[in-house]
Amino acid sequence: MGKYLNAEVYKAIHRKTYTLGALAVILGCIAAFFAMMKGLGGPGATFGFFVSVLCMLFSAGLYFSLLGCDIVFSDQYKNNTLKNEVSFGLPRARIYLGKLSCSIILSVIFCLVIVVFYLALAWFLFPVGSEGLNGQELPTLGRALALAFPLWLGGLGLFQMLLFLMRGSTSATVIYVLLVSGLGTILRLLGMAIPRIYEATAFLQTLLLQTPFEQMPMEMDVPHAWAVGMGWFLVSTAVGLITFRKREIS
């Protein structure tokens, strides 16, 4: 697995234009956001406020995970490169898990770069506030990260499964976005339309990747987030592995 990861990291690093371009766009958006906030000013625009905003923005990590996966998966079916791997006798489980592991590593690096850049800009551009830091900002950030991390993992696992199952990255992305952002709405509407199944749909909504983010910052149920995130991660990885085992490479 070490060799496989080494190769995947090598490939991701050599996809400079896409990898760095995507990161530059994200960082650019953050910089633009801060420039705008600086222009607006206001007494509430303190470092502590921007930490809270960052925690709220963690739900966007479910979509950033698409980026890491896509960089690693690299349109395998379009480029037809999987045949080079299986024909050498590499176990399909290693191929699947190797790409997943590399996606996780890349996404964590992306996440760190984005969070550090955001915090650095917030620290540099905005005052800590007249009352100073109240000592709650970093623990809040830590709890939000602890809540978000398993959910991001779940999203990564799900997207990788879709990439391996579907022929094209676009269709995988569309289905992923529908599952992550559309399923909750569908369940809510179903529950309202058919009162008999309201409780069932309400329960199903608690299993969605998006739900723990929606409950932030009022409620940060970290164990629930881990149960939901790891559930999606393990189930989608198992399904992906099983289906990829017998998949035609052509």
Binding site: A7, K83, N84, F88, G89, L90, I249, S250
Partner: protein, 307 residues
């Protein structure tokens, strides 16, 4: 007896009700250059794809370097190099970067193997050109470089000369012959360019509609395809005895249906006709025959299909 490198027993691949490969039995021995001959859609690529794990057989057995179990087969595949259909690489990487990626992934020691493989296929000077900008010929060469990078004992090549220019074809042929001669690399090569196969193969497997029709060595095939005169007479045994006694011919075959195939005396057919006619044998026809690989194959599958 030479060691068997690849053996398939009743190997079958079905896609729904369509049978792509039907109970194929193939034996490739060490040092062979095995030419898999068949028209498009005959099942050549499917066989190579099954050997290279790109598709799973529906039934039958595959033995590679003596290994038959799933885990053993995987290890055995690390001793092969494969180039199946159009070579595929990451479009945004250069030739060197693509090979380096696979070198790391496969755990092949030493970066020099990448340079050696590129030099072997004359791609060492492609510099920063990305794979997406390669011509088909360059792609084919890079595919071959990847197949050669781990010094394989068995090379699986599916239509490898598609897209190569004439010079490239000659270089490619010489490279394969050199690998076979110097390292005893066994090669399974499929192609429908039969004249090219004829320059390489030491044995042939003919396949049509998924079924293996015949496996034959190049010597045996040359024997079967050599020039002859085919006579059709009313009394073949008597004519054969006359030819043997009067003209001292020894190299001939008496075939069913009053036919005699003569492998000598081809330069003076009038001597033969004179003899037979003078002895009262009715000569219905005489034809100079000689088959190349193409003729032999077409004959085997029952001629060219139309429509």
């Amino acid at each position: 007896m030479a060691e068997s490198i690849l053996v398939t027993r009743s190997l079958t691949k079905r896609y729904g009700s369509a049978v792509a490969v039907d109970q194929a039995n193939i034996t490739v021995s060490k040092g062979d250059i095995y030419g898999l001959v068949g028209r498009n859609g005959a099942g050549k690529t499917t066989i190579i794809r099954m050997v290279s794990a790109q598709t799973l057989p529906t039934s039958g057995e595959l033995e590679l370097f003596g290994a038959t179990g799933e885990m053993e087969l995987r290890a055995a595949r690390a001793r092969t190099g494969a180039m199946v259909e159009i070579p595929s690489f990451y479009p945004y990487l250069t030739a060197r970067e693509n090979l380096e990626y696979y070198r790391r992934q496969r755990g092949i020691a030493g970066r020099h193997v990448v340079e050696e493989a590129l030099e072997q296929v004359n791609l060492a000077d492609t510099g920063k050109k990305k794979f997406k900008a390669f011509s088909l010929g360059m792609k084919q060469r890079l595919g071959l470089a990847l197949a050669l990078m781990n010094r394989p004992e068995l090379l699986l090549l599916d239509e490898p000369i598609n897209g190569l220019d004439p010079e490239g074809i000659v270089e490619f042929r010489n490279l394969l012959l050199e690998l076979n001669r110097q390292y005893q690399t066994t090669i399974l090569i499929s192609s429908h360019i039969l004249s090219e196969l004829q320059n390489l193969a030491t044995c042939y497997g003919f396949i049509d509609k998924g079924r293996m029709l015949e496996e034959v060595s190049a010597e045996k095939l040359a024997e079967k395809c050599r020039d002859c005169l085919e006579l059709r007479v009313d009394d073949a045994p008597r004519a054969a005895a006359l030819l043997e006694r009067e003209l001292s011919f020894r190299d001939f075959e008496v075939l069913p249906g009053g036919a005699i195939r003569l492998y000598e005396g081809l330069e003076a057919p009038q001597r033969i006709t004179n003899l037979l006619v003078s002895q009262g044998i009715s000569l219905y026809g005489m034809e100079h025959r000689g088959a190349n690989l193409e003729d032999y194959f077409l004959n085997l599958i029952g001629g060219v299909r139309h429509g």
